[in-house]
């Protein structure tokens, strides 16, 4: 027997050369190279998946480093997908790597997902989760789902088996805007996404190699504080079917950010067309964030003080918010829309990072 880097798994009963060959022939698209994506990638790569692509338009920031274990201090400000791929290309030469330094959208999802055998959702927001779910249902692609909140995690496998379920069978529609805070607001110990991400990698390997029983029609719950696992049975839900786009045409028309966050998002190109008109153009970054942006009509209201300065927007009919990555501007838009339900308020998708690329 030729000893190679997979020797210890091919000698496993029930896996063998056959299981290894299936992994080698398989391709996986990992959406999000953050707290979940990092451990997923580490173990899928080590297991010898043949082709792996990583989609992430975000850049590495200092607050990511407690859980996004592929990155270090020297990577701050760099794109996550590209940085992750660079790390792995040096480590394993037998895998075909593709970095996609963009966010997944209704425009690009079909083209990205189509070319892969299995999708991993390691994203960190509801718009992306519903978008990825719906695209995978339309393409009948196996989807490994995992998500976290504080000390708890959820894992499942969608679109696999004879009565396949998807995320909308569990939660047919997104929660209301601002219902669920994200990691930035609630905090997370890095080891939790490490555990959930490893479970996701395990499920992907099981689906692709045929080993064991994947978590299809099951939702696994994990609580790290009392180290408890619990499994819930899930079944196809008729109300979820009506919530999924009926066609790609229908999918392309959806505004997932609006449905989930109650905020209309614009690209920089769309935003540029509005400028010069009666529109307030607002930078909600804190003083000192790079690069500074100067132009006529630009208003600077740091997100940290926005709630005290809402009356500054009384006169404006249209308001355009932007920040570094598009996250805070979305919250700013939500906040302002609650105060002024009749104004047209937008957030610029991807923020300054999107402008740079």
């Amino acid at each position: 027997m030729i000893v190679n880097r997979f020797e210890r798994q091919v000698i496993l009963p029930g896996f063998g050369f056959d299981g290894q060959a299936k992994l080698k022939q398989a391709s996986v698209l990992v959406i999000g190279a953050g707290g979940l994506g990092c451990p997923v990638l580490l173990y899928l790569a080590a297991a010898g998946i043949g082709r792996i692509a990583v989609v992430d338009g975000d850049v590495i920031s200092q607050s990511n480093l407690n859980r996004q274990v592929l990155y270090g201090e020297k990577d701050l400000g760099k794109n996550k997908a590209e940085t992750a791929i660079r790390y792995f290309q040096e480590k394993y030469s037998d895998i075909q790597w593709t970095a996609i330094p963009e966010f997944i959208t209704v425009e690009n999802a079909q083209a990205f997902i189509f070319h892969y055998d299995l999708v991993i959702d390691g994203s960190d927001n509801f718009p992306t989760r519903y978008l990825v779910n719906d695209a995978c249902v339309l393409l009948k692609k196996p989807l490994v789902y995992g998500s976290i909140y504080q000390h708890e995690g959820q894992v499942s496998v969608f679109n696999v088996g004879s009565h396949p379920c998807n995320y909308r069978d569990v939660f047919p529609n997104p929660p209301a805007p601002q219902e669920i805070p994200n990691c930035a607001e609630t905090g997370v110990l890095g080891v939790l996404p490490g555990i959930i991400g490893n479970l996701m990698a395990l499920e992907a390997i099981k689906v692709l190699s045929g080993l064991g029983k994947p978590l299809s029609n099951k939702l696994l719950l994990f609580n790290s504080l009392d180290t408890q696992f619990q499994e819930l049975e899930i079944n196809p839900n008729p109300t979820s079917q009506s919530a999924i786009p009926s066609s790609w045409n229908d999918f392309h028309q959806r505004d997932y950010a609006l449905a989930c966050e109650g905020v209309q998002q614009l690209t920089w190109n769309e935003a540029m067309k509005l400028m010069g008109q009666e529109v307030a153009f607002v930078d909600v970054r804190e003083p000192g964030e790079e690069p500074p942006l100067e132009c006529t009509g630009l208003v600077k209201v740091p997100f940290s003080t926005l709630s005290n300065e809402l009356d500054r927007f009384e006169e404006a009919e249209e308001i355009l918010f932007f920040c570094q990555s598009g996250a805070r501007s979305q919250k700013a838009a939500q906040l302002l829309q609650q105060t002024y339900p009749d104004k047209r308020i937008f957030s610029i998708r991807g923020g300054i990072n999107a402008l740079k690329s």
Binding site: D121, F126, Q150, E152, C183, E233
Partner: protein, 79 residues
């Protein structure tokens, strides 16, 4: 044996209820339980959640019998 059930709350629901596990009198059905919870914990009114009876996610009003375990499940999006 008294007619009681076990409630298990996950994620933010546990925070709003103030406990992740609770023994309560059996309300008899999932819908009665839901209304009772919304009344007792008004903070739940603005939250999305699904219920599981004895570890099976339910899709419609379901009878609850003594000793069953009801899970209250919110969506998570973190990653």
């Amino acid at each position: 044996m008294p007619d009681r059930i076990r409630l298990k709350a996950f994620g933010m629901l546990a925070e709003k209820i103030g406990a992740d596990s609770l023994e309560i009198e059996n309300p008899g059905s999932s819908e009665v339980l839901r209304l009772q919870l919304l009344q007792q914990f008004p903070a739940l009114q603005s939250l999305t959640f699904r219920m599981a009876v004895d570890r099976k996610l339910i899709q419609a009003e379901t009878d609850i019998s003594a000793g069953q375990e009801i899970a209250l499940l919110p969506p998570f999006s973190g990653g």
